[in-house]
């Protein structure tokens, strides 16, 4: 019997090609979206899961009060992990890990720069990796190093490289003691090599007893079932006991964040873990479900729209002895077949668009073909979709009375329209919310991109440099300037697009007793404002020989409450310094945040970045070649690395742009699916009114008036969904915008545009269908009665 059900379903599908195409396309696109989003969600949730001690690993976070604002960071002091393990039996392992750095590897004449992490020698007590060669003892001594498979191949074309020597940063030589498999990209700790701290260096020796400065991350592996809250307290007490004096860390609080939360709950606000990426994961999980439901609703709409055709068959089957149950089963089989076909389409769509999707997300989501769970999930989606999509038409059709449907032409009643109207209204409400969200996200991004940064990022190249550069800086600068292609050159301690150091050590006469004043600082050479094209508000820019001079920005002066800042003396880092100028606020960190207080300190030898402003009309490629050759000539030992300031700045929008593109894609798809649904509803309604329209036409109605007649009720639906969706969209987007200090206010205009777009799309959809009926010969439609 099932076989004949599928047979008749197949004949129905192939007989009504357009209808089936619309139906399967809608369902297939919906399914593809859902599966793709779920793949992404699954990927986000799978972060770090390759770690064997996944359930036992915690990262330490400290919440400190800076300038009256609670800020949470994972930076903690060097001796903490070791002391924690020695003092608390529930800590099975603990390690200190740097934030990651780019290290120059030299072997023979090969030079490459790779991201590395520097760790204490108990690192493998906490984290697990697959060793290809060597074992966890590799970093017990400071002169060992662990390479990943790909790094080993890059350096030696081989993974069997135990015992080979590598020079790090032209400064320290280590021996390869182990090679591990590359970790998946979905790991919080990403590195190409693990380097142990150099225990013989003075800096590290000092750190061993330094309980004040916090520069590294700490990780703990605790016993199963440990009371984390009490361990947090114990750690804080340990820090308080060990610190020589009160500082922001001892005054603050301590938090242990489980590994399962590292990726998705990375955001802290006012000392509380407020979520983060999980909000997007949850949001898109809901979007996935909603899109699938929209697609199913479509299926229901389109299927019941054709019920006149199928009603006769139901009647016949009932007179042939079919029970309601069997008819239900038949229609469910049919929708299941549709669902399977839709999945085949979805599979093709996913297969072709996954690289594109990965490109937008900048991630490597793969289809887990080998995963049985994946296939179970797929089968669940197919069956669920089939059942949800088929249930309403199945119940509706199978309950028809044979006497009624066999008597003559069966006209579905008005009451059958109501649930479909509600469904279409809901569909449109969702689409309108998505369209509004997309527009508002784009507006916000545009708004921030057009923000006055206080300096000019155009034609500004930042070349990575180090203190060695100081020796040849003058020569490099002069030869660049002589070329005529370069406007200006200067140095800063860090790239200007990046976060700089923060200090609480600025003191001045009459300073309020505010221990929480935190100011960002950046070391720079002369003519900083000039090359950055920043505005000096008072005083002057740095010039040569300005040692012991500083420049503050407007925000810094505001929080310091200085009356006549220029000429005032401050002390910082053990030296008296004079304020030579006030610069306008510079947006260097987050473009969404309010300006932060900033201090520029004159130090021409503190070089982390070479900033080069290229002349406006010079070809970039030529200028780059010149810079590279000059750089190589005078600084041959380091590879040439550069970024464009405007590009670096634009990268700060990556996350928001991603949300924007995703919202755009899903909004377009949702509205497309909705239009298919509307198309179905319109044809259903028109089918019901063919006779009425024929009569009206005979009575002299114009095509125009008929179109109005047929469109009216649908435009009403869209109007209703519009009035539901707008407040929701407004509220949702308002709370999204609250994430940014620098943001737009939502204007009424945007909703006006959304309304216009939706209306236009609907008119086209309805018009396509209604026009055919309105222009048809009424004799035909009436004769069939």
């Amino acid at each position: 019997m099932i076989r004949t059900f599928f047979l008749i379903a197949w004949r129905n599908i192939s007989k009504n090609k357009l209808f089936s195409l619309i139906n399967i396309a809608g369902l297939g696109i919906g399914m593809a979206c859902t599966i793709m989003i779920l793949l992404w969600v699954q990927y986000e949730r799978s972060w770090n899961k390759t770690q064997k001690n996944y359930d036992q690993i915690y990262q330490g976070f400290s919440t400190r009060n800076f300038n009256g604002e609670l800020s949470t960071g994972s930076d903690l002091m060097f001796p903490l992990p070791k002391a924690a393990k020695e003092n608390f039996p529930e800590v099975e392992g603990a390690t200190l890990v740097s934030y990651g750095e780019n290290t120059l590897f030299t072997t023979g004449d090969k030079k490459i720069k790779r991201p590395t992490i520097t760790v204490t020698n108990d690192f493998f007590d906490v984290f697990t990796y697959d060793f290809i060669h060597g074992d966890a003892s590799a970093i017990k001594e400071s002169n060992g190093i662990v390479l990943t498979e790909s790094t080993a191949k890059a350096l030696f074309n081989n993974t069997d490289v135990i015992g080979k020597m590598i020079e790090l940063n032209r400064y320290r030589t280590v021996t390869v003691r182990a090679v591990v498999k590359d970790m998946p990209a979905s790991s919080t700790l990403l590195f190409d090599a693990i380097i142990p701290f150099n225990m013989s260096s003075e800096g590290v020796k000092q750190s061993l007893t330094d309980w004040v400065n916090c520069n590294n991350r700490t990780f703990y592996k605790v016993k199963q079932g440990t009371n984390i809250a009490s361990l947090e307290q114990k750690l804080l007490t340990l820090i308080k006991k060990s610190s020589p004096a009160e500082n922001p860390t001892t005054r603050g609080s301590l938090l242990l964040q489980p590994m399962s939360k590292w990726r998705l709950y990375e955001e802290f606000r006012n000392g509380k873990n407020t979520g983060g990426r999980i909000q997007y994961v949850n949001l898109f999980t809901w979007i996935a479900i909603i899109i699938l439901i929209i697609a199913c609703v479509n299926f229901m709409n389109l299927s019941t729209a054709r019920s006149e055709k199928r009603a006769r068959e139901v009647g016949i089957r009932k007179t042939l002895g079919s029970e309601k149950k069997q008819l239900l089963l038949q229609f469910l089989c049919e929708s299941l077949l549709m669902s399977i076909l839709a999945f085949i389409l979805a599979g093709c769509l996913i297969y072709t668009s996954l690289p594109f999707f990965n490109g937008i997300l900048n991630q490597q989501i793969a289809i887990p073909y080998q995963e049985p769970l994946f296939w179970t999930g797929i089968i669940c989606i197919i069956i669920l979709t089939g059942i949800i999509a088929g249930s309403y038409p199945a119940f509706y059709l199978s309950s028809l009375k044979p006497v009624k449907v066999l008597k003559g032409i069966f006209l579905p009643g008005k009451q059958a329209l109501l649930p479909r109207r509600i469904l279409v209204t809901a569909q449109f409400a969702v689409s309108i919310i998505l369209i509004s969200a997309t527009l508002i996200i784009y507006q916000q991004i545009k708004h921030v991109q057009n923000r006055d940064l206080g300096y000019d990022t155009n034609n500004l190249i930042m070349v990575t440099a180090n203190n060695d550069m100081g020796k040849n800086y003058e020569v490099i600068r002069n030869s660049l300037l002589q070329s005529g292609m370069i406007d200006a050159v200067n140095t800063t301690s860090l790239p200007v697009s990046d976060i700089f150091g923060f200090t609480s050590g600025v003191r001045w006469a009459g300073a309020p007793e505010d221990p929480n004043l935190i100011i960002g600082f950046l070391g720079t050479g002369e003519n900083f404002a000039d090359i950055m094209k920043a505005r000096i508000l008072d005083g002057r820019d740095f010039k040569q020989g300005d040692s012991n001079c500083v420049i503050f920005n407007k925000e810094a002066i505001r929080v310091m409450k200085l009356k006549n800042p220029v000429g005032t003396t401050i002390s910082w880092a053990g030296r008296e310094r004079r304020i030579t100028g006030i610069i306008d606020d510079l947006i260097m960190t987050s473009p969404y945040a309010l300006p932060i207080p900033l201090m520029l300190a004159y130090d021409p030898n503190w070089i982390g970045s070479l900033n080069i402003r290229i002349k406006k009309d010079v070809e970039l490629q030529k200028a780059l070649q010149l810079i590279e050759s000059t750089y190589k000539k005078y600084n041959a030992e380091y590879p040439f690395e550069y970024t464009f300031a405007d590009k670096a700045f634009n990268e700060k929008f990556a996350n928001e742009k991603l949300i924007g593109s995703l919202a755009f894609i899903f909004a377009s798809l949702a509205i497309f699916i909705c239009c298919l649904g509307l198309f179905g509803l319109v044809s259903f309604s028109i089918e019901r009114r063919t006779k009425e329209i024929g009569i009206r036409k005979i009575l002299g109605a114009s095509i125009q008036s008929l179109l109005t007649l047929m469109s009216k009720e649908f435009l009403l639906l869209v109007l209703i969904s519009f009035s539901i969706a707008i407040p929701v969209a407004w509220w949702l987007m308002k709370s999204w915008l609250m994430n940014f200090s620098y943001r737009i206010t939502i204007s009424i205009g945007i909703f006006f545009i959304v309304g216009l777009i939706t209306l236009l799309i609907c008119l086209i959809t309805v018009g396509l269908n209604a026009f055919k009926t309105a222009t048809a010969n009424p004799v035909k439609s009436l004769r069939t009665e």
């Binding site: 047979l7 007179t319 042939l320 002895g321 044979p402």
Partner: protein, 222 residues
Amino acid sequence: MIQLKNIFKWINTGSNRVFILKDINLEIGEGDFVSIMGPSGSGKSTLLNIIGMLDEASEGQYLFNDTDVFSLKEKQRSQLYKENIGFVFQAYHLIDELTVYENIETPLLYHNIKQSERQAMVADILDRFNIVGKKDLFPSQLSGGQQQLVGIARAIVTKPKLLLADEPTGNLNSSQGEEIMELFRKLNEENGTTIIQVTHSEKNAAYGKRIIELLDGRVENK
């Protein structure tokens, strides 16, 4: 076999109650061949539908082989229907998406008959009706008379005791009609199938052993 006692059927349109059947009392025995006649709107089809359990009376009692049909639950009634009744329609009502063979096979599916048996039964009836060559055609490829033949074949393939026909020849020309009526007579005489047909045509009605005339929902003579 069939006993109808004081059957009334009405529908409410607004505040008016329109009677379709008024106080029908009827007995039809096994092996009978009854023709129901009457003008349009006299209630013939409604009566046939009530006998065929597709419709319910508003009032009265219907005994089918001494079972009170109206007191049965939906499931029991459809079981009773399935086992005993076959239907033939004026508009044939074949399923367009199924071939002749599959159309005839469909009721057997609902009777849970095994595939090999089904094949035998369908082949047998195709042979009897001389339509073996048409078995893979779709209804739209057949003439009206052929479609009705398939309709009848489908109705009797399950060997029902009662065959109900609602103007079976209404859409056919006279020679096709005659062929169908001959077939009915043969079924009645050779197989002992009880037949009740609704018809406008005196000539076709005469094939029956008994004629019931309806007028405005009442039985005029038996």
